[in-house]
């Protein structure tokens, strides 16, 4: 597949340069707009998809704040550099090849559309633009708006991967995995689940009908969390996470207010994530989806609150935050398929799952942010919940899955089986590719910083500076004034590339 990719990329680049871009939907639209003949649904749907995309892009700030809040102060700065680097690498890769694999029609590389899309490398489409994006063809929004929206999803999925790897992963791992993830893993996985691939179409003996995933409980959240799990298994726990007795110890994050801010930014962004997946405004479904999303989030918080109180005998702040995210993750797949009453139920169960999941996973695997629970377990539950709660009228409207609805309506397990198979396939595919990628990173440039560097913190080690300088170092004047005889310029200051050579000398 890689060789095909290598062949396709220069070809697409060449096409960009020599062919007049007549295939671009925008030019057709522009001419129609000039002539006053543009269908009014096109600009209005495009507007909504672009607004929704920008909502989802803001979720990057949510992930950044969440991760930074759950880190110790010595690792607070690296999250900023990480989220921006990843977002940017993913943007270029998804534009170059990812979008075409995920949503393009199948007529360029000659591979079945059930496996892989292949039209639209570098956003250059051949053939009739109306057929270029088969699944998203139902919306009249422009191709560019759809790209922006789907890229924002890719960036969310990638951001989910790293929450689990906080405080010990090498920066180079971000860069390498981001390329593979945004160009190959995410596009193919999401193509199967909601890009018109074989899981969505149910075109297989494994499942009687297609799986339903409205906005990506599996395609975005489970895929991201699966990448996180693969990374965790190869990365190992943070130093000091498990005592000599093997029992997990808490390593508290440095700022619960930042965690709260992150969760609420994510909550806000989700109103682009789910309602935006209508890809249009003209059927007004976006409001219904927004209501279901709100109720899912509310259910998640209440579920986590209850579980925390009963299981931990305290109202854990981080768990409440994880609960809201879990509720939102779970409601993402069913948000376009269920009636509003199912929202709080699905969210509540997810809130309970995330608390129990975090506690159980923490016993063996060090996941500082709880991504494997909040995005992984809740993503699985959310996907399965379609098999229970999908309303027949909405299954019919979206035209995916069993038109008789979920188990509660149809009394049949048809949809539930499809959801289960979809989860298993997506998980296995992403896990294998991610594990191989991380194993290759580990064997080549290395996946993890040294023990000394971990003690010192990634801020000073990877970036040569602190996220909170005043907390770690005194004012420069004071430092200079107090330098004694031993602190002559020739002896002071470690070499530039190895700041904090003795890591332990920096506070934990």
């Amino acid at each position: 597949m890689r060789s095909r990719l290598l062949r396709a990329a220069p070809m697409a680049l060449l096409a960009t340069l020599i062919l007049p871009a007549t295939a671009l939907a925008t030019d057709v639209d522009l001419q129609q707009a000039v002539d006053g003949k543009l269908d009014s649904s096109i600009p209005i749907n495009t507007l909504w998809v672009v607004v929704a995309a920008v909502f989802v892009l803001l979720m990057q700030a949510g992930f950044a704040m969440l991760e930074i809040g759950f880190s110790r102060a010595k690792n607070a700065g690296t999250g900023v550099a990480k989220i921006l680097t990843n977002l940017s690498i993913a943007a270029v890769c998804y534009w170059a090849v990812g979008f075409a694999f995920a949503f393009g029609s199948a007529d360029v590389l000659g591979i079945s559309g059930h496996i892989l899309g292949s039209n639209g490398f570098f956003l250059q489409f051949s053939g009739n633009p109306a057929d270029a994006l088969p699944v998203m063809g139902v919306s009249s929004a422009t191709i560019e708006s759809k790209f922006l929206f789907q890229f924002a999803f890719c960036a969310v999925s990638l951001a989910i991967v790293w929450g689990s790897t906080l405080e010990r992963i090498k920066y180079s791992a971000y860069v390498i995995y981001a390329v593979v993830f945004a160009a190959i893993i995410y596009p193919i996985g999401s193509h199967w689940v909601f890009g018109g691939g074989w899981l969505q179409n149910g075109d297989t003996p494994l499942m009687p009908t297609g799986m339903q995933d409205f906005a990506g409980s599996t395609a975005v959240h489970l895929i991201g969390a699966t990448g996180a799990l693969a990374a965790l298994l190869l990365l190992g726990p943070r130093k000091g996470k498990y005592g000599p007795d093997g029992k997990p110890r808490a390593i508290p994050g440095h700022s619960m207010p930042l965690v709260g801010l992150g969760v609420i930014i994510l909550f806000f962004g989700w109103f682009g994530f789910n309602p935006g997946s209508t890809l249009g405004i003209t059927d007004t479904r976006l409001a219904d989806v927004a209501v279901v999303t709100l109720l899912g989030a509310a259910g998640g918080v209440i579920g986590a609150f209850a579980a925390s109180q009963l299981k931990l005998k305290t109202i854990d702040i981080g768990m409440i935050g994880n609960g809201m995210i879990a509720g939102l993750v779970a409601i993402t797949a069913p948000s376009g398929y269920v009636e509003a009453w199912a929202g709080p139920i699905i969210g509540f169960v997810a809130g309970v799952i995330v608390v129990l999941g975090v506690i159980a996973i923490d016993k063996r695997i060090d996941d500082p942010i709880g991504a494997t629970s909040a995005h992984g377990l809740a993503g699985i539950w959310g996907t399965l919940s379609c098999g229970l709660f999908t309303a027949p009228r909405l299954a019919e409207y979206n035209a995916f899955g069993d038109p008789d609805g979920g188990l509660l309506y149809s009394g049949k397990f048809t949809q539930l089986i499809a959801q289960g198979v979809g989860v298993l396939v997506a998980f296995s595919f992403v896990f294998i590719l991610s594990y191989l990628t991380f194993a290759a990173i580990k064997a080549s440039v290395g996946l993890r910083v040294s023990e000394e560097e971990e003690d010192a913190g990634l801020d000073i080690v990877e970036h040569g500076m602190y996220g909170y300088p005043e907390q770690f170092i005194p004012l420069p004047e004071i430092g200079a004034a107090s330098s004694g005889p031993a602190a002559k310029p020739s002896t002071v200051g470690a070499p530039a590339k190895t700041p904090a050579t003795r890591a332990g000398e920096v506070p934990a």
Binding site: G464, S482, G493, E505
Partner: protein
């Protein structure tokens, strides 16, 4: 009575505390301090400029013990704080004239002994 004051690396503290607790010395105080000695400073980089930091963070450990117990405490500190590198820190022993337990008003060396009876557990 003597006060033992030690300047140590952060990561040395926990094993020292564990040892002293087992040896029957639960009472101690620590302070986060910054200091300079023969150990080199840090070079920080900030938006293209360099910043030389000459003070390094350390922990200051303080304990008051009976004169005969100083060796035990000193041994525990040396055992865990010594890496053999510049920057391991120093231990000072100072005479102490008086000791008063605030809660009871008791004076003298008996103040240094933990009260007999049940240990007060950390709140769950």
């Amino acid at each position: 009575m003597r006060m033992v004051v030690a300047y140590i690396r952060h990561e040395a503290f926990e094993p020292i505390r564990q040892d002293l607790l087992e040896a029957g010395f639960p009472s101690l105080s620590i302070t986060e301090v910054k200091g300079s000695g023969r150990q080199k400073g840090i070079t920080e980089h900030y938006r293209g400029s360099e910043l030389q930091i000459h003070l390094r963070p350390k922990l200051k450990l303080e304990m008051v013990v009976e004169t005969t117990d100083v060796e035990v405490v000193k041994d525990a500190i040396l055992r865990h704080a010594r890496t053999g590198n510049v920057g391991d820190g120093k231990v000072f022993v100072l005479p102490v004239e008086e000791a008063v337990r605030i809660r009871t008003g008791e004076e003298g060396e008996e103040v240094l002994q933990a009260h007999q009876g049940e240990e007060i557990p950390a709140e769950a």
